[in-house]
Amino acid sequence: MSAAPDLITRQIQRDIRNRWLLSLPALLIILLAATGPLLIVVVYSLLTPGDYGDVKWVFSTEAWVSVFFQRDMFDDTLTPASAHLSIFMRSVNLSVMTTVFTVLLGFPTAWFIATRPARSRDLWLFLITIPFWTNILIRTYAMLEVIRNEGLINTFLMRSGLIDKPLQMLFTDGAVLAGMVYTCLPMMVLPIYASLEKLDFRLVEAAYDLYATPFRVLTKVILPIVKPGVVAGSILVFIPSLGAYVVPILLGGGKTMMVGNLIGLQFGQGRNWPLGAALSITLMVVVMIALLAYVRYSGGKGAKAHG
């Protein structure tokens, strides 16, 4: 009587075991060469800064206090760490904007690639990534050449008589955003393409034939297919953008810090490794919570059963 359910349970268990085995290589690599050593960082956040970098093995919670509160440098009073908060919010802001713009540009681009003949799709995909075979530094300098006062755009606009004074584009927030969108574009286009490519365009066609409005076609046919791609792309754009600093410095002038700079400062010139460690753990936890909430909310998680 109970043999059949038993068999099913055993099958499910075997399936789960296989799934763990399959993910083992990825988990091991990440454990050994990325996150495992981070335990050191957790420990470091609870130690005292070494006199000249590194740490002293003396327990202290000062770093954690400094993440959330600032001790006034002149009268020692504790107030919420507004500097950290404003830096964090700036980074979040930039990441959100970058994600939005990469979706706006990346989705149509991925659509365009996915609707090419099967044979040339890989080629178009390759064309998206070729600019990134160059180095970020050189690439950003080239962008600078395009937008600076004596740069390509201004020269063109002045020669054509559209403006008579160069537009200040370099060292503006717009320049940073443009640079970030540029840098992150492949991270959005490629995942969207990967999910869009499996869309059966005859479905779209059929939907149109049934006199569905473009909006309905979009929400009922296209979105469910591309959603996992957009979710994946957003993660790949949003999270790394939080730590961005090369583009903000070179195109934005670096007058204001990003989270990446703030943490880098503690490990570098600031020589306060525990604070750097505590700041980065805080960032990780916030991002992790946001990620899990986002994935759950967007319904793109594998936990939703399919078949």
Partner: protein, 343 residues
């Protein structure tokens, strides 16, 4: 014919003894784009040593990596501000540079520095100063003051860049307010912070790319290193380097041999080698900074001889001091001011 052969054989023999004495490798860990390839080639040929160069981009990264060890470097080139830490933490070997053959070439002012008394550990690489560059096409007035950056004249407003070296900029702001190196007086620090915060709206950027952006006209004034200023003037003669009258700092990079160096003998040979005037001149010609070696000037490129950027004027010499690291508590205050400035 026979004598020729004998000579050739002796030559080969000499070469091979040289080979026996300094066979193998040398692993150099140095600032990026800082090591003259010609000089390295000369060293390799002279001692039959294969030199490997690896780059770093900050004293803090270099210190962190060398502390952990295991990377296989024989030689590093820390700045004088950090050198005492390397020595105190036992990261470097005492190679008695001061007694090496070429040590006699070290200029008197560099032969017994505070950061390495008696030159027990380090050989001088290059040195320089931190000051102010101004494009005199844009602003013609007097510019030998940190006020150019902190209280810029109308012509320079919105065209000032600050090279984001925390210690250098805080030093400048403290000096500007009458303080001293590693100032701890909170009244002065407060003034320094206010100076920086109030000056910031006049700045266009805080970044490193001064050579390119000063010459292209994106910046009209900046804090800068003297060698960088020198290269800017060569590209654009209207750019001048000024030594701030409130006080400015020297820096000096020095070659040390690491404790776990596998190629100790080659490393020592290298320390001695760079103190030769001709070789030191090669370093200067490549990186465009002055060296501390007597007699190297005749070997330097003509444009470097007597250059204002590379020679501190006599009347400013007493305004200069060596940058050093401040104690951790002071450092923490500085970091807070710096974070406040860029929040």
């Amino acid at each position: 014919m026979k004598t020729k052969l004998a000579l050739a054989l002796t030559g080969m023999l000499l070469a091979s003894t040289g080979l026996a004495r300094a066979d193998g490798e040398l692993n150099i860990y140095n600032w990026g784009n800082y090591t003259s390839p010609e000089m390295i080639k000369k060293f390799e040929e002279k001692y039959k040593v294969k030199v490997t160069i690896t780059d770093y981009d900050s004293n803090d990264t270099a210190l962190a990596k060398v502390r952990q060890g295991g990377s296989g470097f024989d030689i590093a080139v820390p700045s004088q501000s950090h050198l005492p830490i390397w020595i105190a933490e036992g990261l470097v070997q005492e190679t008695d540079v001061g007694k090496m053959e070429n040590a006699k070439n070290i200029m008197p002012e560099w032969s017994n520095p505070d950061f390495d008394p008696g030159r027990k550990y380090s050989a001088p690489w290059l040195w320089g100063t931190v000051g102010v560059v101004v494009n005199t096409d844009v602003y013609k007035g007097p510019a030998d003051s940190w006020g150019i950056l902190f209280d810029p004249p109308a012509e320079l407003k919105g065209k000032v860049n600050i090279v984001p070296e925390m210690s250098d900029i805080l030093y400048a702001a403290i000096k500007y307010n009458g303080g001293k190196l590693c100032e701890t007086d909170k009244a002065i620090l407060k003034k320094a912070r206010d100076t920086l915060v109030n000056a910031k709206p006049n700045w266009v950027a805080m970044e490193y790319g001064t050579i390119e952006k000063m010459t292209a006209g994106d910046f009209a004034a900046s804090s800068d290193w003297n060698g960088s200023a020198f290269r800017q003037r060569l590209a654009k003669p209207s750019i001048h380097y000024f030594y701030p009258k409130e006080g400015f700092t020297y820096w000096s990079d020095n070659v040390v041999v690491l404790k776990d160096a596998k190629n100790l003998e080659n490393a020592k040979l290298f320390q001695n080698f760079i103190m030769d005037p001709e070789n030191a001149a090669m370093l200067s010609a490549f990186a465009r900074y002055a060296n501390g070696i007597t007699g190297s000037e005749p070997f330097m490129p003509a444009d470097m001889k007597g250059a204002n950027e590379l020679n501190v004027p006599a009347d400013k010499k007493d305004k200069a001091e060596f940058m050093r690291l401040c104690d951790p508590a002071t450092q923490e205050l500085y970091t807070k001011i710096w974070t406040e400035l860029q929040k």
